[in-house]
Symmetry: C2
Subunit: 404 residues, 2 copies
């Protein structure tokens, strides 16, 4: 008998019919001889409604109050799902984050899970019951309700699965798994059966929106076998697991595209010791995330520095750069938002050479100019002109035979 | 400095504007130099919505689940009100029933408060903060959330006021207090300044809907000074307090009308020992509440028995009576729903004679036939034909000079 944690997000429990569908799915898992702990989000729209209510009274509501407010949404879903399961003849009980033993730190609205006291859940499971846990929430050492921030219900599910040493943690969303690339760009994209935590982390940070890195990192740390699958079909999903659990490592697992980048080119940067550190230190203080950096030695005591930032942080980056221009430490700056970053991810790269070379030659064949390059142990990223995005993704997908 | 518990019902917090009004009112009380503990209901309509959600999945949802579901409504109001108060510069924090230390028995959906651990509330009050308590809920010894049933938020407020030995417990509703009679019937009805617990209990059970008896009984037991007043005006309300606190006891405090009664007349009841006990025992087993009973000795070994029941229980009463008719223990039965009960309530009756006589002579002057009479230490009730209801109320109101 396996213990399976099943997490259902806001869309999956978006209305009463969908909650009934979720109950049907859990019932099926139970009848197949498994134990189930379900973790649920608030019905879609509920959290936004509550946030707008709070916003009506204050633009800066106390975070402790916001947490008590928001935590109610998941509780409603949890008790409704338990009621639906009971009606189907299953002995189900709902639990708040507190009842499930989820203890967090005191950072209201973005608390971190510190520990899970599984006594209560284990007793209920031993009695043969199904548990429905209200996701996204816990309780701090003062006894105050906390919430876990964006993607919080996924975190609840992974943490509960880890604490209970569940055999599987299934994350149900509106997509059926992780694909070799975005199927809207490359219709031949294939759903992967398995992928390692590290590949998933690279893909997620490169724009695959199915899972947040925080949840994948926690699953890796707690050694939780994570499956993402669709709550609207019976299709098998994608297993995210330890590298050792994946027998045949493909050279390349997937191609990711991030259109949400901008390039900053600084010319005439004063060639004095510590200038790069000053610029990037100032950017970090302004909460600007730098990705790739290229520095080229110039002539006549000045260098050029190029880097990329998320488009949303370009305004903040410009302010920092302008202060250096005002101090005459930078000659001039150019900004380019019409770029994108295409990346090849695969653990197979560790032990194979020539993976990057294939990427470069593919770009060359398609006459796509590579503006910047960065590599890691399991990733090659290239910045290109945005207009070539789809062409680059499709030709790389084909070059690495991901459609086979 | 006084400690005032202020309770706001569903209508008073019915939308965001009204929650802001409630915050304004609390702010005013604070600025007048008082400490405040607010107790709030769910926004009107919310609880019904959640009940209908549960109903969608099951006609007999587990009560434990219903309690977790319903308790979320009051939490939402509590945190929103705390946010509104914070924005106005008051240091306010919201508390669930659990955080407020409200411990109940295990009767989910109609739990009784067993104790209140005031440690948490007292610490917060000592720190000079306002507390907003989610009404209607507590937690049982297993740590499960419970709700208190109809009128539960009033009970929360009275219990909290008792436990904290508050100077006053104000119950805000949409009416401005307790009137000498229903102002829709008698426009000259006056709002009472003060009334004793016992009078309030009589008036409530006779149809004055402002407060439920459960709350008044608890206030009496805990010696809580209760005030009912309107959340939509600044008018003073009615103080419900110990009889000793009311200096001038009026002879009669109020006239109550209950249209919701039916009369059952049994003829040819077999004159054997224990027959009355059998009939009323069977009615009690069928959960029919009997109010007045008149038994008249008959002739030829049979008696007549008349009694009144709430109209809603007449069908059940008929079933019981029919079984006695089938056994030939009752000759025949007549039912009359076109009656009403008019009552005179006043602690002054205890020490004055002639109060009932005035009532009877008033009815006689108006040519209203009295069908049944019952009296208690502080009440005289008369059953009359329903069509005379308003006339009876108005002439009694005037006879006892309640309009002066």
């Amino acid at each position: 008998m396996s213990l399976i944690v099943q997490k259902f997000g806001g869309t999956s429990v978006g209305d009463l019919d969908r909650i009934q569908n979720v109950a049907n799915r859990i019932s099926k898992t139970l009848k197949a001889g498994n134990n189930v702990v379900a973790v649920v989000s608030a019905m879609s729209g509920e959290t936004n409604k509550l946030v707008s209510y709070a916003d009506n009274f204050s633009k800066t509501p106390a975070k402790r109050e916001v947490d008590l407010l928001l935590s109610s949404g998941e509780r409603v879903t949890a008790s409704l799902l338990a009621i639906a399961l009971n009606e189907m003849g299953h002995d189900a009980i709902s639990m708040s984050g507190r009842a499930a033993g989820i203890v967090t730190d005191k950072h209201h609205t973005k608390a971190r899970i510190e520990s899970i006291d599984t006594t209560n859940m284990k007793n209920v499971l031993d009695a043969g019951k199904v548990i429905v846990v209200a996701g996204f929430q816990g309780v701090n050492e003062d006894g105050d309700v906390t919430t876990l921030g964006r993607g919080g219900s996924d975190l609840s599910a992974v943490a509960v699965a880890g604490a209970l040493q569940a055999d599987l943690c299934e994350i149900y969303t509106d997509v059926s798994g992780i694909y070799t690339t975005d199927p809207r760009i490359e219709p031949n994209a294939k759903k992967m059966d398995k992928i390692s935590y590290d590949e998933m982390l690279e893909l997620a940070s490169l724009g695959a929106k199915v899972l947040q890195n925080r949840s994948v990192e926690l699953a890796k740390k707690l050694n939780v076998n994570l499956v993402t699958r669709s709550s609207f079909s019976d299709e098998e999903g994608t297993l995210i697991t330890k590298e050792e659990n994946i027998m045949e490592q493909p050279l390349v697992s997937g191609i990711a595209l991030d259109r949400n980048q901008a390039r900053v080119s600084l010319c005439g940067v004063k060639d004095r010791p510590g200038i790069a550190s000053d610029i990037f230190g100032a950017l970090a203080s302004a909460n600007v995330n730098i990705d790739m950096i290229i520095q080229t030695s110039g002539h006549e005591g000045a260098t050029s520095v190029d880097f990329t930032v998320p488009s949303g942080e370009l305004t903040d980056a410009k302010k920092v750069v302008d202060s250096f221009i005002a101090n005459k430490e930078i000659g001039k700056a150019e900004y380019d938002e019409s770029i994108s970053k295409v990346s090849i991810v695969g653990v197979g790269m560790k032990s194979h050479t020539g993976v990057a070379a294939t990427a470069f030659s593919t770009m060359s064949t398609e006459n796509i100019n590579i503006l910047m390059i960065s590599t890691s142990e399991i990733k090659v990223s290239m910045v290109i002109e945005e207009k070539y995005s789809e062409l680059a993704v499709r030709s790389l997908h084909s070059a690495y035979k991901l459609d086979k």
